[in-house]
């Protein structure tokens, strides 16, 4: 590490690493140098000229966002000259910026408003006619109001550099310059909406949020997105128990401010008109609304009966439910109902990976590793489409640290654009490309290997052997599908493993076996839709479904219990990298209850309350801490931010079932059954191809 540079800003003697920009050094010292175009992590522009500062021995004011600190440099940020410059720049900006703040979505959280409030003039000397162009709709979720645009080019950079999509550019020049979308009059992109978030003014507005509320009328709840497995923190803005906006402007969570289209907009299933609000019981082949008391009575009575006669239960948990719910559900199944017939849809071969990594430490990559490690091998996964955050992290890593990326995929992927090497291999034979890459990979200082569901036992084991033979530190990530796929395995939602990868040693039916068992007496499905793809063989089975919607499975149920969405409950989920994070209740739907509570109520009704313990998320989490290896993390710590759970460090010792592992390969605009109920996900034109641009679609073919 080079010696720090010593310099002075506003009389404060400071030190910073060589190359630090004056604007950053000032920020660290608590001195604000205002700027619009400077944005941490993206390329430098020096375009807005707000950050002009005086530097001793330099005749002109200098732009703090491109000026590196130097030894002996004396910077003054608050002088009559700098104040004058800020004031005049804002005066220039306001010439063509409409003062429609009272109806602008950004009003109240607008950087231009704040800057004018702090540094601007009290009155304008501009008496000419303002330039005007009409607002444009670029997609169902992105609107552009040209006159409001201050041309800071943040959106252009976020799209090109951050997302690797480059759907935004600049047309015209001078005062009539405008941001323009790649489709001419519309966008062909990931629809991630980062351009809207990053816009300092109300030029880019969200189709979902515009004109819905004033920002100060919302309550904000930081929770975890329920869609893919990356576990982005999304801050939901709610008003009157209605979710209006999703973003993450405080940059907390594993994702910083990143969100994809699902995290930002696909909370809208929550208010879908078809949300179930009342329990239903099948009477004469028809589901009729009943009270909670009645429904619980029917369920507990029937469950009690079947249990008493030693009947065959099938319990299906979900990849979206919280750890607490899944833990509680498997406990109920195993201890309450006395069955080991419990499963969920497995989306990645995590079990084999954990088993193969037995005896090693720190071998599971974290989300932060994606940004920090030096080399990556991506096997059989289209990260930009299926794991947008991991893709974003690796892209930022490439941009900031020149990370070296190798891809082995069946089709072209976005990572190819900056990969050192890309190899095309058909699905399930990605493993064959490894020897070809051995030399290059062994020369890397370290490596992270990410693999999708086409790499599974025995290839996972071979992959780990390959990694260990490289002689460099290697970390792994088994890619899984949904917000808590990883947690579902950890919580023992499979017959062969109890919580914490403890082999149960007892026999149990897997999900396909349950559906195929003609003598199944009861099927209890919590937040899953197995009958969407398969039929239930048993005609006599008593089917109980807890869901938000009347899914195919719910339609076939004898009792349907309306459950709260992921945004309506508290608990924890574990993302693809094994990081446990807190979900928090942001909204509520009348009539629906969190699955944890529903399970608890059934237990109580069955007289199993003592066995099951209270259905409070924090209490159940306490039990998880004691029971599940790797989860012994105090809740306050989890509340502070993602904590990586480290599962067993030893052989798992069960026969894994690679045949049961398959990913739905959800793209940016699908999210299983849940995705069907998101109006926004279904409204974007990219839904058809599932990818950003026609060019990329062509490249994929």
């Amino acid at each position: 590490m080079a010696d720090p540079v010593k310099f002075t800003i506003d009389g404060q003697e400071l030190e910073a690493a060589p190359g630090t920009l004056v604007i950053e050094a000032a920020k660290r010292a608590g001195i604000e140098i205002p700027s619009f175009c400077y944005y941490e992590g993206y390329s430098l522009q020096a375009a807005c000229r707000m950050c002009l500062v005086e530097v001793e021995k330099m005749p002109k004011m200098q732009v703090a966002c491109t000026l590196p600190v130097a030894n002996g440099m004396v910077v003054r940020t608050d002088t009559p000259q700098t104040r004058g410059a800020r004031k005049s720049t804002l005066e220039f900006l306001l010439t063509n910026h409409p003062l429609d703040c009272p109806v602008c979505d950004k009003g109240g959280e607008c950087e231009l408003q704040d800057m004018v409030f702090r540094y601007g003039a009290g009155e304008s000397r501009f008496t000419e006619t303002k330039l005007h162009v009409d607002e444009q709709q670029w997609s169902p979720v992105v609107y552009y109001d040209g006159p409001r645009c201050i041309l800071c080019f943040r959106c252009v950079r976020a799209c090109e550099e951050g997302m690797g999509v480059a759907a935004l550019g600049v047309v015209n020049r001078g005062a009539v310059s405008l941001i323009a979308p790649n489709g001419g009059d519309h966008l062909n992109c990931d629809e991630c909406g980062q351009c809207i978030d990053i816009c300092p003014v109300g030029a880019l507005t969200s189709g979902a949020y515009r004109y819905q509320t004033r920002p100060w009328e919302m309550e904000h709840t930081g929770t975890i997105c329920t869609h893919c497995a990356d576990g982005c923190k999304t801050t939901l803005g709610t008003r009157n128990d209605q979710i209006i906006r999703g973003n993450n402007r405080d940059r907390s969570g594993v994702n910083g401010e990143f969100l994809c289209v699902k995290g930002r907009y696909a909370f809208d299933f929550n208010d879908h008109a078809e949300r179930l609000q009342s329990p239903m019981v099948k009477v004469n082949g028809k589901l009729e609304p009943v009270s909670w008391a009645k429904a619980l009575e029917v369920v507990s009575k029937k469950f009690g009966e079947i249990k008493a006669r030693g009947g065959k239960f099938g319990v299906v948990g979900s990849n979206h439910s919280t750890n607490e719910e899944n833990f509680y559900l498997q406990k109920f199944a195993r201890q309450g109902l006395g069955t080991n017939n419990i499963d969920h849809r497995r989306t990645g071969d995590v079990v084999t990976l954990v088993d193969a990594l037995s005896g090693t430490n720190g071998s599971l990559a974290t989300t932060a590793d994606m940004y920090e490690r030096k080399a990556f091998l991506i096997l059989g996964a289209d990260l930009a489409v299926e794991h947008p955050l991991l893709s974003f992290q690796i892209r930022a890593n490439y941009r900031h640290h020149a990370a070296r990326i190798y891809t082995v995929t069946a089709r072209a992927v976005r990572e190819d654009d900056y990969a050192v090497r890309s190899i095309r291999k058909p699905a399930f034979s990605e493993f064959e490309a490894l020897e070809e890459l051995r030399g290059a990979l062994a020369a890397e200082p370290e490596l992270v290997i990410l693999f999708g569901d086409t790499v599974k036992e025995p290839d996972v084991r071979k992959l780990v052997e390959f990694g260990q033979s490289l002689g460099i530190p290697v970390k792994y990530t088994a890619l899984v599908d949904y917000s808590n796929s990883r947690g579902a395995i950890d919580m023992g939602l499979v017959p062969e493993l109890g919580p914490g990868f403890h082999a149960t040693g007892a026999a149990g039916l897997t999900l396909p076996e349950m559906l195929a068992a003609g003598d199944l007496d009861a099927l209890w499905v919590v937040g899953e839709n197995p009958l969407g793809q398969a039929a239930l063989a048993s005609k006599k089975a008593f089917v109980v479904v807890q869901d938000m919607f009347l899914t195919e499975t719910a339609k076939a149920a004898d009792v349907v219990l309306p459950s709260a969405s992921a945004y309506e409950k508290n608990g924890t989920v574990t993302n693809v990298c094994g990081e446990v994070q807190r979900v928090k209740r942001a909204a509520a739907t009348m009539g629906a209850k969190p699955d944890l509570e529903i399970i608890g109520l059934i237990a109580k009704e069955m007289g199993l309350a003592a066995t099951m313990g209270p259905w409070l998320p924090d209490t159940v989490y306490g039990e998880i801490r004691r029971t599940v290896k790797g989860y012994d993390i105090p809740l306050p710590l989890v509340a502070l931010g993602a904590q990586q759970t480290v599962p067993v460090n030893g052989r798992v010792g069960v026969d894994v079932r690679p045949d049961l592992v398959w990913s739905a390969h959800e793209n940016l605009f699908t999210s299983g059954t849940l995705g069907r109920y998101s109006k926004i996900l279904n409204s974007v034109i990219e839904k058809r191809s599932g990818t950003a641009t026609p060019e990329q679609e062509l490249a994929r073919q």
Binding site: Q45, C48, R49, S88, T89, F92, T95, N96, E128
Partner: protein, 433 residues
């Protein structure tokens, strides 16, 4: 067509202009053509650069940076290729010399490029030509073809193992692309916005490779320097201002045109003796000495020598040599408006002060000229210009602000004459005449 010569001219760069078929390689070869290049082949890189340094040649694009110095900044050892780029984006209002240099003596430019290539060890050159000069692009292409055919360009030039390739590149019609870093962006196929500097092109120019970027006239001066020696060239001009300069005399003079005169030639002599005096025997009111971005000089300030330093001392600039003469009937508000219209139209939109400032000023000046101005507008015009000055990303903002400040300061009475609904006094005069 090219104007009549003046006996006061010192033809160096233009010495072949009036020969029949002056653009053909045969004419060029018969008149000292490519001899400087052959001489330069026998010189070391340092020798060439030192010769150019000693000649006092300063960039003819406007900034007047010493050319030899610029070349010496190019790293000698570079793992990346080096490029020679010619700025032929001549778009400064009042300037019209590069087009003649390309039209009448294209091989002189090619030879200058070749010598620059030898000096810095580059093997590829590009001539970036203003998009509107469509005919010149084709013209240069033909000259380049001739040079290839005669072995002055290619993989093994003149059988001497020298490799140099040259091609033209069309601009797309933006004044901003005459600024070197915006030119490079445009050259790379991007939007013509200026770049953050440092790094300067000599270190990281085209495709982030070391790049020599000079004006057409600058390259055209190089063959004469190499062939006839630095002392000869330096001796033509005034101290620290080597050589001759192509002055583009326009406006209200009897004989407008492009005249090659020694650096340091007196401005009044240029107007009266070379240009035949102010048109119609009228009185001189003002002169813009170096293209529209240079602060205007009042008639009584015009007795000065046209070299970089003397004009700078008079708080203006020699710029790109575009001398715009304005007679007593010229409305200075209209002149300021005309210039601001240009800059508002040409501002690239990258930085706020230039983008918004030029447009605002255009509107105020327009209103002012229309007789809708109020007294505080005069202060406003000066204020807005000063708020742009030195705060914009690239010199375009300064180029718009400096002349405006000068117009308001030097001709405040004319601005006041437009106040309070009064029609433009000069337009009335024209109607009366």
């Amino acid at each position: 067509m090219y104007n009549q010569p003046s006996p006061l001219e010192v033809p160096v760069l233009t010495r072949r202009f009036r020969l029949p078929n002056s653009h053909k390689i045969d004419t060029y070869l018969a008149n000292e053509g490519y001899q400087a290049f052959e001489k330069a082949i026998g010189m070391s890189q340092d020798d060439i650069i030192n010769e150019v340094k000693a000649s006092g040649l300063r960039g003819r694009g406007g900034a007047g940076f010493p050319t030899g110095m610029k070349w010496s900044f190019v790293p000698r050892q570079s793992p990346k290729p080096k490029y020679i780029i010619v700025n032929g984006d001549e778009s400064e209002p009042g300037t019209c010399k590069d087009r003649l240099l390309m039209e009448f003596d294209p091989h002189q430019l090619i030879e200058g490029i070749l010598i620059a290539g030898l000096a810095v060890g580059a093997h590829q050159g590009y001539i970036y030509i203003r998009g509107e000069f469509r005919y010149l692009i084709e013209h240069m292409d033909r000259a380049i073809d001739e040079a290839y055919a005669r072995g002055y360009l290619g993989d093994n030039i003149l059988g001497r193992g020298i490799k140099f390739h040259l091609a033209t590149h069309s601009g797309a019609g933006a004044y901003e692309c005459g600024e070197e870093s915006a030119l490079l962006e445009s050259f790379e196929g991007k939007r013509g916005n200026p770049r953050i500097r440092p790094p300067f092109p000599a270190v990281a120019g085209a495709y982030s490779c070391p790049t020599v970027l000079n004006n057409v006239e600058t390259y055209c001066a190089v063959p004469s320097i190499i062939l006839k020696g630095a002392a000869y060239f330096a001796g033509l001009g005034s101290p620290k201002n080597g050589g001759t300069r192509l002055f583009c005399l326009s406006g209200h003079v009897n004989k407008p045109g492009v005249y090659e005169l020694p650096m340091g030639f007196n401005l009044m002599r240029l107007i009266n003796e070379v240009g035949g005096g102010v048109r119609g025997g009228k009185k001189l009111k003002a002169v813009i000495p170096g293209g529209s971005s240079c602060p205007v000089l009042k008639a009584d300030e015009c007795d000065l020598n046209l070299d970089f330093d003397t004009v700078a001392a008079a708080k203006s600039m020699l710029g790109s040599g575009g001398v715009v003469v304005m007679d007593e009937d010229t409305c200075m508000v209209k002149a300021a408006l005309r210039i601001m219209r240009f800059y508002a139209h040409e501002s690239c939109g990258w930085c706020i002060p230039c983008r918004e400032g030029t447009t605002w000023l255009r509107k105020v000046l327009q209103r002012f000229h229309d007789g809708q101005g109020v007294k505080s507008d005069i202060v406003l015009i000066g204020d807005l210009s000063r708020n742009m000055l030195g705060r914009t990303f690239c010199p375009l903002g300064d180029a718009a602000a400096m002349p405006t400040i000068a117009f308001v300061e030097k001709f405040r009475d004319e601005f006041e004459a437009h106040l309070d609904g009064k029609p433009c006094p000069y337009e009335k005069k024209l109607v009366a005449a």
